[in-house]
């Protein structure tokens, strides 16, 4: 793997000096165009052998480009806020917006490589984490991100020599830390693991570039030229694709939804006549509330976090159902996130980014009033997302939820269904109630006209994203009492299950 990076390549001072001014000017121009176009973001991953000039190269990039639109991130051990989400969450936090460059020092590769080199993860765990990385990177690339991965290499001999030379120089000694020597002793393990990682994660969309790190001139020119070429090429490709891709046609209902005999969907299987008497509702609700409260305390104690997702047609009663849950829980332990239009920080990033901002801490609960499923519902039906984008979203969402679930978060998802007549009745009722008027806009009536398209979208959404770790609960919501109790019951059941699994998992761990 690394043989070609031990050839002793170097660039003479004179050649270097002659090349730099043009290169700097070109880099700046490319960066400026990138920034103005706001077409895509650039992520530069920097990994490799200690002493191979990683930080020197990042310094040079900072120096040669406009530092206002470039951010380098290095990673210390995760904070508790980070540890309580999933492993890649800390990188999510720092994803650059379109038009900017983010340099990820060590990045998501450091931990898996070191842990495997020190034998702290099994072969199987290691493989699983590489798979997660590939999926994560694919998601970034699919969003248009230019993902560049540089590996800085030094042969064992060169590394030893470099560390020794530095240690002997009283003025440079500080550059060599004990950790450097500790890592050096593991050189062979480290290289073997790294070679495997590079093989497994050199995908077509985001291949690794191995850089020989012995000569500063060589590595600086190599990396910055490669970076420059990649940005220019990616900008051209992005522009071409955009030109070739016309505005999506206005979405139309498919035959099955408008003509001919109506095809059954998952929604048509629901018994929409279910009701609950007020008396029973009152009694059951009081009972469920106590249960849920107790449960939420146990979850908090166990450090188990939960995500509740509420989706449903307009006026299906999401807000009411959510309030019945929150009334049972201590205000310090939940947060309700109503999803409105994204702001500019959010629009400039991957669509999942704005949800990742609100994931709960350990022992806490986040309730999303509408969610990432907007991508395959409103964005699909209204044509805000292109077909390839919303089609891809099923996989991305499944992965997003699996990562959370693997980290021990409980995910509970509700679709609240009402029928078309009931919706109209509720609209009319709201219009009559002074304080509910604001809830009804022209938009709502327009959405109604697309009922069939939404049914189709919901059907596909449930089919594609109901997983064992994050199943959908469909709620017949024509009767509010019935719906609220069903939501309560499903929430209680899901959280009880998650708690039992977590406790079991812990007991198992203790035994082994």
């Amino acid at each position: 793997m690394f043989e070609t990076a031990e050839l002793g390549r170097s660039i003479a001072k004179r050649t270097y000096r002659a090349a730099v001014p043009h290169l700097r000017a070109d880099l700046l121009r490319a960066q400026n165009e990138l920034r103005l176009a706001e077409d895509f973001s650039v992520i530069v991953v920097v990994n490799g052998v200690d002493g191979a000039g990683k930080s020197e190269t990042v310094n040079i990039l900072h120096e040669w480009m406009d530092p206002r639109y470039l951010a380098a991130h290095a990673f210390t051990p995760p904070t508790d806020e980070e540890r309580e989400r999933f492993p890649t969450w800390r990188f999510w936090r720092l994803l650059p917006p379109r038009g900017r460059i983010g340099i990820f020092f060590g990045s998501w590769y450091s931990a898996p490589i070191l842990q495997r080199a020190y034998g702290r993860t099994s072969e199987h765990e290691h493989a699983a984490s590489l798979e997660r990385i590939n999926t994560f990177e694919k998601m970034l690339v699919d969003d248009g991100t230019l993902l560049l991965k540089y590996w800085f290499h030094l042969s064992k001999k060169t590394q030893r020599k470099r560390l020794k030379t530095l240690s002997r120089d009283p003025k440079q000694r500080w550059r060599v830390t004990d950790t450097d020597w500790k890592h050096f002793k593991r050189y062979d393990d480290f290289i073997q693991v790294s070679a495997g990682v590079l093989r497994e994660t050199s995908t077509a969309e985001a291949p690794w570039t191995v850089v020989e790190g012995a000569d500063a001139n060589y590595r600086e020119l190599t990396v910055s030229r490669h970076l420059l070429r990649s940005i220019i090429r990616h900008a051209e490709e992005t522009a071409r694709t955009r030109r070739g891709r016309r505005k999506p046609p206005p979405p139309r209902a498919t035959k099955s939804s408008t003509h001919g005999p109506k095809q059954p969907t998952i929604l048509t299987t629901l018994d929409m006549t279910r009701t609950l008497r007020r008396k029973d509702y009152k009694r059951q609700m009081l009972d469920r509330r106590g249960t849920l409260n107790l449960l939420s305390r146990k979850l908090e104690k166990a450090g188990l976090s939960a995500i509740l997702v509420f989706e449903g047609a307009d006026a299906a009663g999401k807000g009411g159902a959510i309030r019945r849950i929150t009334r049972a829980i201590d205000a310090r332990h939940y947060q309700v996130i109503p999803i409105a239009a994204p702001n500019d920080e959010e629009r400039a990033r991957h669509y999942l980014w704005r949800f990742s901002r609100h994931l709960p801490r350990a022992g806490h609960m986040t309730i999303f009033d509408r969610s990432w499923y907007g991508r395959v519902l409103v964005e699909r039906v209204e044509g805000f997302a292109r077909e390839d984008e919303w089609r891809r979203a099923y996989t991305e969402i499944n992965e997003f939820e699996q990562v959370m679930s693997d980290h021990g978060m409980a995910i509970v998802k509700f679709w609240l269904q009402i029928d078309k007549d009931e919706q109209l009745r509720r609209f009319r009722e709201r219009e009559k109630t002074s304080y509910k008027k604001y809830k009804i806009t022209k938009e709502d009536y327009r959405n109604r006209s697309r009922w069939a398209l939404y049914e189709e979208a919901v059907d596909e959404m449930v089919a594609r994203t109901s997983s064992t770790f994050a199943p959908w609960t469909l709620v017949e919501a024509n009767d509010k009492y019935y719906a609220r109790v069903k939501v309560m019951d499903a929430t209680i059941a899901a959280l009880t299950g998650a708690l039992a699994r977590a406790t079991r998992g812990r007991r198992k761990k203790k035994k082994s």
Copy 2:
């Protein structure tokens, strides 16, 4: 203090029912106008006795208003990311943007009150923290925020009764926690401390409203009516002030800066002829770099964080001086934040908010390339801030820095000064260098024409914000070598001092 909230006030069910629909409609309308005008943010502070209906009232507000533009925040013990900044930082994080309402449950009052009631803080510490709160609130109010503070009260008898009734009801028992009883035992201490706190923090701009909490109908109507009236009145006042306040006149140079004999400023006292030979520079830099590196490791170990602020005229060499520092430090321990135009999340909040986002964690360093001093420099000179705004900023900035300093952060501030001819020379030189061209815009030449105004602003800035805890270092920067070494030396001196103070402080604590 609380006698008037123990009168047994209540509102009959029928009156309540008749009032609610109108009130809800009015609240929604007010909230909607607030949102569209984006003139100011509303912060609702909710504190008081346990069981007095705090969370129930917040729930009702959520129910009656549009939850998409209202966020309630409750506070669990601070995370490590929060603890490593200063105590109010966690509230800074959550400040609502203009047009929105933020409800702060427990808010910044809970900790001081509880700590004092349990005797964990001295009289003196307690007084100091109340003073901090007043300054913090003044800053919010000065920014236009409507700050409403509600105290929910219950008499001792009523509280005991309420807790007992709930405990006896098997269905409601979960509402009463052990902590509630524990706090109840301290009722008298708690009330005494609270009364003092309310007295000390009931300022003209942000007075407390004490609400009798025994009757749900009464407290809900009281709070929401008060909230409604306050929003409407504040909106009217804000609109009136805005109308009365014409666009600020284009800033003009004052007499002292354009006519008559030039008055000496702090900048004219600098000896701008200082230089350093290249040979000495090389040697000294290598030496300082080693020292700074070692120092940065010690700071990291001691968990001491540092903030470096760089200000200076265009082309004064801020970037170059910063790079000389960062080259000496491990990339994991610093972050450079170049200050460009604020984005929309930032523009919608207090001007200090966008800097508070980047404060360093314990043991880390944040280097600001331009900073909050923009308020009293470019914003003053270009008229982006009104005179009352930038005049107020001196106090706000001093307070902001003192809070950080009190928390143990080291603050080092540099003004890099060049003279007008040297600036022109550098502009011309940059225009000739292909990769430096981008640094020069028309803007730069325009700024040059305001040289005298900037000098005046710098003079006042240094005079007003050079404090013992965060002094300015003025750097004669006509000669880059001299300037860079001076910056290095001052940084090393300041950090060494901070480290010594921190170590002394710790030793003292150990002894006592």
